[in-house]
């Protein structure tokens, strides 16, 4: 009731009541003028004001102009990189001065720190972008020709145009080597992860420590190990098989460790539910734990493969190079994408180098595709509508007939 009264009525009623009560409280006799000030529009705190944005953009532009003057007119510093460095330093300086005009030392520090962090992050972004764009741009001449993907390099000389020869042998070689490596490492890696998470014990701790330690093995040392044992020691030929062994040695600890992390985060409640329903441990693992972890396991596998597909050093030591399509992994040398890139770039012939960039673009595309697939798989699955339950809802007993 009281809330709907006007202030004066409200005061009267309160007066009456207070008269009835003990005279302990003195009431305000008149209403104090409340100063609302001018009509305020609430400022959005999370967003910069137009002025702040103007100062920010203006400072960086002024920094660029100053940097141009310093690098091109005052000092003999040619090239883009010195210009960029000067821009960074001078831009920060202008930013600091501009902030000092209006704000305190705290403001200056905040602005400068924001400037440093933002520009460093954009440098990193620019570097990544430049690497990707550069590879595709340099390989652009070789990429549009179909024979690039369906031909090999046998009988193709360094002066031959891009309409002859291709990298099919490298693509096939990479595919074969990776397939063997996956066939070897996936059962071993995931099996180890299952052992570490589901069975455990003192022995598991030893295995975990050693596997973790071996992720530190440099890829070149993995290659050298396989070279010494298989090729020099056992007399196996340099071949796709030896290369895939080197790749396996390298990615096995990575896959085992990544899958262990994935299996460990499977909720314990799922496992206990399976066991409480009377299933054996093996059935629980096979029907509950592994399906629950499937997207994560796929991600671990794909990231391991993405690592293996681009590693050049183990392959360099173990596979040898062929300029034609080889499908037999056991006999004879075999080429692969990273190795093809490495050897053709080193030849120094301009046309070969462009071919190498074309191959690098294909390799980069493969890695990008694998990466996107891994990301999509790792996304949490949206709960699907339970079709089966919905169909069953009108129970036959309750159906009006």
């Amino acid at each position: 009731m009281a809330t709907s009264l006007t202030p004066s009525q409200h005061r009267d009623e309160v007066d009456l009541r207070s008269l009835r009560a003990v005279q302990a409280t003195t009431l305000r006799s008149e209403q104090e003028p409340v100063d609302h000030g001018p009509d305020q529009v609430r400022r959005r705190v999370s967003r910069a004001t137009a002025e702040e944005r103007f100062v920010l953009i203006g400072s960086w532009l002024a920094g660029l102009a100053l940097a141009w003057i310093v690098c091109r007119r005052l000092m003999p510093w040619p090239g883009l990189l010195p210009l960029a460095l000067c821009w960074f330093v001078l831009g920060l300086l202008v930013l600091a001065v501009a902030a000092a005009l209006t704000g305190s030392a705290t403001d200056v520090r905040d602005r400068v720190a924001t400037g440093v962090v933002t520009s460093a992050a954009s440098v990193v972004g620019f570097a990544l972008l430049s690497a990707v764009v550069f590879i595709f741009a340099r390989g652009a001449k070789a990429l549009p020709h179909l024979n690039m993907y369906v031909d090999d390099m046998s009988g193709v000389g360094p002066r031959d145009p891009f309409t002859r020869g291709g990298i099919l042998h490298a693509i096939v070689g990479t595919a074969i080597e990776l397939t063997i490596a996956i066939v070897v490492t996936v059962p071993l890696g995931i099996g180890t992860a299952v052992y570490l998470t589901e069975i455990g014990g003192r022995f598991a701790r030893v295995v975990r420590t050693v596997v973790e330690a071996m992720t530190a093995l440099p890829s070149i040392v993995a290659g050298l190990f396989v070279y010494t044992t298989l090729i020099v020691g056992l007399g196996v030929q340099r071949s796709g098989f030896a290369a895939s062994m080197a790749l396996s040695v390298m990615i096995l600890p990575i896959i085992a460790r990544a899958s262990e992390v994935v299996l460990r985060v499977v909720p314990a409640g799922l496992r206990e539910a399976g066991l409480a329903l009377g299933s054996s441990r093996w059935k629980t693992v096979w029907h509950v734990v592994l399906p629950a972890a499937r997207p994560g396991l796929a991600t671990a596998l794909i990231l391991g493969v993405a690592r293996g597909i681009g590693e050049t050093s183990p392959v360099l030591l173990t596979s040898g190079t062929a300029s034609f399509v080889v499908t037999d992994p056991v006999h004879g040398v075999m080429n692969s994408l990273p190795l093809f890139i490495f050897s053709t770039v080193r030849s120094g012939e301009p046309i070969y180098i462009t071919r190498a960039f074309g191959a690098a673009a294909v390799l980069l595309f493969c890695v990008l595709a694998l990466f996107v697939t891994a990301r999509l798989l790792a996304r949490p699955v949206r709960p699907r509508r339970r079709q089966s339950l919905r169909h069953r809802r009108p129970h036959p007993d309750q159906e009006p007939s």
Binding site: R109, V117, P187, T228, G310
Partner: protein
């Protein structure tokens, strides 16, 4: 009268608990044995590599003694083998990459976790992960063809301004009318820049994760007390993430030591201890292995394996320290500051 009363006293035998058997039966036993067999295989393979490398380095150490680590030359025909120069080169490349990658990765991690719009955060995070997935040969090509001309100009500038420091000295005249660009290429500096591109995403990923775990309450408290965003980062996020910063950097450092192909593409091999990082010619352990395995005899092969083993031990040491630091920072022990 349907209820019959029991006349006999109930037996007072105490309930004996059923004997529980934790022994596995049937398929479970097969499963346990099978899993253990797989794990043992993996242990034997991975542990076998370390053991094999250690075993192979015994004859080398016995033959060349400790001078193997200090000898700078690699002349198989004169029976002079040593990894002094390549060890120094490895550290130089790793240090350059660290000096470049450390500030950039801290700033990038801070940007992603503190400054970037919330909508962009997931995208930026996967960009960093993508950067880690790009093969090293791509960065090698990038460094050799795109970066090298620009970086050698920076090297010249460094020599002109800081040339009095032995590290930045170059055995060439900085003020020549046409500067001898080839003296400033294929150096540890440029190799380190390319390796930094591989160190950066690893370090950045760890740091971002740790920064993201900085307690929300303390952040809000700092902001409510009137701190600017940088003040909040300096007093809350950075002290909390200190372990992650160091650990992530060391993890990247481990990768930097083992990097082969990008370095091999860029450097021109030189077997001397060279403090001048801007000058042409250096070498690293992994580049040495990649360059010399082909013509190696048995003794040289074992020397190369020893070099590889040393490299592995260095990486292992760095990674272990990094793992300890990261784990400690996650448990919250690093928040005392």
């Amino acid at each position: 009268m349907s209820t019959v009363l029991r006349v006999q006293a109930p037996s007072l035998d105490a309930d004996r608990p059923r004997r529980l058997s934790s022994a596995l039966t049937g398929t479970d036993r097969v499963f346990a044995v099978g899993a253990r067999a797989v794990a043992t295989t993996v242990l034997l393979v991975t542990g076998g590599i370390a053991f094999f490398l250690a075993l192979q380095s015994v004859p080398t150490i016995r033959r060349y003694g400790l001078s193997f680590f200090t000898e700078t030359g690699w002349q198989p025909e004169a029976d002079v083998l040593g990894i002094g120069a390549v060890l120094v080169g490895t550290f130089e490349v790793a240090m350059v990459s660290l000096v470049v990658a450390f500030p950039l990765s801290v700033a990038t991690a801070l940007y992603i976790s503190e400054y970037a719009p919330v909508r962009l955060r997931a995208t930026l995070t996967s960009m960093v992960d993508l950067m880690a997935a790009v093969p090293s040969i791509i960065y090698g090509l990038w460094g050799f063809f795109l970066l090298q001309p620009h970086a050698s100009a920076v090297a010249l500038w460094l020599q002109r301004t800081l040339g009095w420091i032995p590290m930045f000295a170059v055995d060439a005249d900085p003020n020549a009318a046409t500067w001898d660009q080839s003296r400033y290429t294929a150096s540890a500096f440029i190799a380190g820049l390319a390796v930094a591109m591989m160190v950066l995403p690893m370090a950045c990923a760890v740091m971002r994760q740790v920064f993201g775990q900085a307690p929300q309450g303390e952040r809000e408290a700092a902001l409510a007390l009137g701190s600017s965003r940088w003040g909040m980062i300096r007093t809350v996020v950075l002290p909390f993430g200190r372990g992650g910063i160091i650990g992530g950097t060391m993890l990247g450092l481990g990768r930097a030591h083992g990097e082969t192909i990008a370095v091999l593409l860029i450097i021109s091999p030189a077997f001397e201890v060279k403090p001048r990082i801007l000058e042409i010619g250096t070498n690293t352990v992994s580049a040495l292995i990649a360059g010399r395995f082909g013509e190696a005899s048995d003794a040289q092969l074992s020397a190369l394996l020893t070099a590889g083993f040393v490299l592995f031990l260095i990486t292992l040491l760095i990674n272990t320290l990094a793992a300890i630091l990261v784990a400690r920072s996650r448990s919250g022990a690093g928040t005392d500051a």
